[in-house]
């Protein structure tokens, strides 16, 4: 079985986000960028499937700016076999919407015929939580979102999902789209020898036009603003003082 893993280049999760003064967006120039943390978990899960003999090949794909090449190299260094970069934007500030990403991925799936797509449940930049579900709808495949545990059993996958009330386990027919949550695994770090080796692994470069997908956004960004700041608080010296302050504020 071939596993396809879409990965996204996003602002590093440790970086403090700065909204541009003109309200046009978030400043991404000269900011540390990394692989979306949820996508790292997806790559890791694919590698574990391969190590367990349940997958033969791992293809990673990224859709966005040319610099996403670095993200793909990271995935290759972790253990993916092959990469596809779909250049769909020139400006690092352009975010390709999940619907367009899903349409491109659907074309990649048609070409590559994977038995499983493993994706992060959401990207930590636009926080949409949508691409996997949309891809699944376009392909007419089964979907199992927010996976914290998964096993492949012949032509189906059993997936435990993190949901509001706790956990839900479902069984989905393969081929399937599984989107992964935080507790599925802990991604490995790429070793230096593997980083070197990854430079020689194949990376195909395509464009959105190659797949005939229109990436024109459906949502026009009117403005981006800072959230309302909280008023500065005070430090209290003891539990007694805390209790007094809470009573004063009518909180208890």
């Amino acid at each position: 079985m071939k596993v396809l893993v879409p990965v996204k280049r996003v602002i590093d999760y440790n970086v403090k986000v700065r909204v541009k003064a003109d309200g046009s967006g978030v400043d991404l120039a000269n900011v540390k960028m990394s692989m979306n943390p949820f996508d790292e978990i997806a790559v890791e899960e694919a590698i574990r499937l391969k190590e367990a003999g349940k997958a033969e090949e791992i293809v990673v794909v990224s859709i966005g700016v040319k610099q996403a090449q670095e993200t793909l190299r990271t995935a290759l260094a972790m253990g993916a076999d092959r990469a596809i970069l779909v250049v769909a934007a020139d400006d690092v500030h352009t975010d390709i919407e999940p619907l367009a990403v899903a349409k491109i991925l659907a074309k990649v799936v048609e070409e590559e015929q994977p038995g499983l797509v493993l994706a992060g449940k959401q990207a930590i930049d636009n926080d949409m939580n949508a691409t996997g579900q949309m891809l699944s709808a376009i392909l007419g495949w089964s979907q199992a979102t927010f996976a914290s545990e998964m096993g492949i059993d012949g032509d189906s996958a059993v997936v435990t999902r993190e949901v509001d009330g706790g956990l839900q386990t479902i069984k989905v027919k393969m081929p399937a789209i599984v989107t992964v949550d935080l507790r599925l695994n802990e991604p490995r770090y790429a070793s230096l020898p593997n980083i070197m080796k990854a430079k020689k692994k194949p990376l195909d470069e395509k464009t959105a036009d190659d797949y005939g997908v229109d990436v024109t956004p459906r949502l026009e960004i009117v403005k981006t603003s800072e959230p309302a700041a909280r008023a500065a608080g005070i430090m209290v010296g003891s539990v007694d003082e805390l209790v007094a302050k809470l009573k004063e504020a009518g909180a208890v």
């Binding site: 926080d127 949309m134 699944s136 979102t145 009330g165 959230p227 209290v236 539990v239 809470l246 208890v252």
Partner: protein, 308 residues
């Protein structure tokens, strides 16, 4: 303009708080029709009909809709979409599973976690873990939206909408339900609780979480946790508050042993009063706290439980 709102129905019961908050958000867009779908959904439909501002309720009962599997639920909504300009739901994990699928079936974008309605096409939503608020204008003919419930007040009762039964959509038979693991609790639900007490990595173990729970029970509060605490196995996943967990905005949020990573702040910084107890005075949680106490939580939390 008509709005179709997917109610949150779990095992035949309406999650009234989440649904009523989404009704408040949806009312600004037009007449609201609520869809209650499930293996049994009639009682949920009757409850939804009483929410103030609901014009009509559709009840779809079918075994295939029993566990809110994405495929049959999305197929049903897509089959009803013709009559509505807005298709909305509270941003629960169920809706986040279903609504993007609905949007793609309709070839439109989804608007997730919307926190503000500007007009019928223009919406505000948090991005980057709430570190920025984006205003976006949709050019799609239909808008598929999930509403962040913590930013809307629940609509009251007093409605008397008509209830109509409808058939299920096509079940493509792609997935089947195996089991739910849901912890029974007498505590209030995390996203609708007036008070939340949360513990983080500093709590140290699952056993020690009892300290947090005691304080919560004293205050009639829900219990929350940081990602670090959940990852370490101190607390179950459904307690996680944060960017990708639950978003809460209670009147009082008490964070004990939580350092305050931006991903956690994203889930609680709209709380009215925030109390932080941490032994590290440099912890970022103090930057959003109204009242900060630098102390060992193993002393401060029991003392607080006793003195409140």
């Amino acid at each position: 303009m008509a709005v179709l709102l997917l109610a949150e129905v779990t095992n035949g019961e309406l999650a009234i708080d989440a649904t009523a908050k989404a009704v408040t958000a949806a009312k600004a867009l037009g007449d609201v029709t609520v869809l209650c779908a499930g293996a049994s959904a009639a009682a949920a439909g009757d409850a939804a009909a009483m929410i103030d501002g609901v014009a009509k309720v559709l009840v779809a009962e079918d075994a295939s809709l029993g566990h809110r599997l994405a495929e049959p639920t999305a197929a049903l909504i897509a089959s009803l979409a013709g009559d509505y300009e807005h298709i909305v739901a509270p941003a629960t994990t169920d809706a986040k599973n279903v609504m993007p699928r609905v949007a793609a079936l309709l070839d439109v974008m989804v608007l997730s976690d919307v926190s503000g309605v500007v007009d019928g096409n223009t919406f505000e939503r948090p991005i980057y873990a709430g570190n920025a608020i984006q205003t976006v204008k949709s050019s799609d003919v239909k808008k598929v939206i999930t509403f962040r419930t913590s930013t809307f007040d629940a609509a009251g009762e007093g409605g008397s909408a008509s209830v109509e039964s409808i058939g299920a959509g096509d079940d493509p038979g792609l997935s089947e339900w195996v089991e739910d693991k849901v912890a029974a609790s007498d505590r209030p639900e995390l996203t609708s609780a007036g008070v939340v007490v949360s513990g983080g990595r500093g709590v140290g173990s699952e056993e020690n979480f009892a300290l947090i729970e005691k304080l919560a029970d004293k205050l009639g509060a829900a219990v929350g946790a940081s990602r670090a605490a959940v990852d370490s196995g101190f607390a179950p996943n459904d307690w996680q508050v944060g960017q990708t967990g639950k978003v809460v905005a209670p009147d009082l949020y008490i964070a004990a042993g939580i350092s305050g990573a931006i991903q956690h702040l994203a889930g609680m910084k709209d709380s009215k009063i925030i109390v932080a107890i941490n032994k590290d005075e440099e912890a970022p949680i103090f930057q959003v706290a109204d009242f900060g106490l630098v102390a060992d939580l193993f002393q401060a939390v029991p003392e607080l439980t006793e003195k409140l």
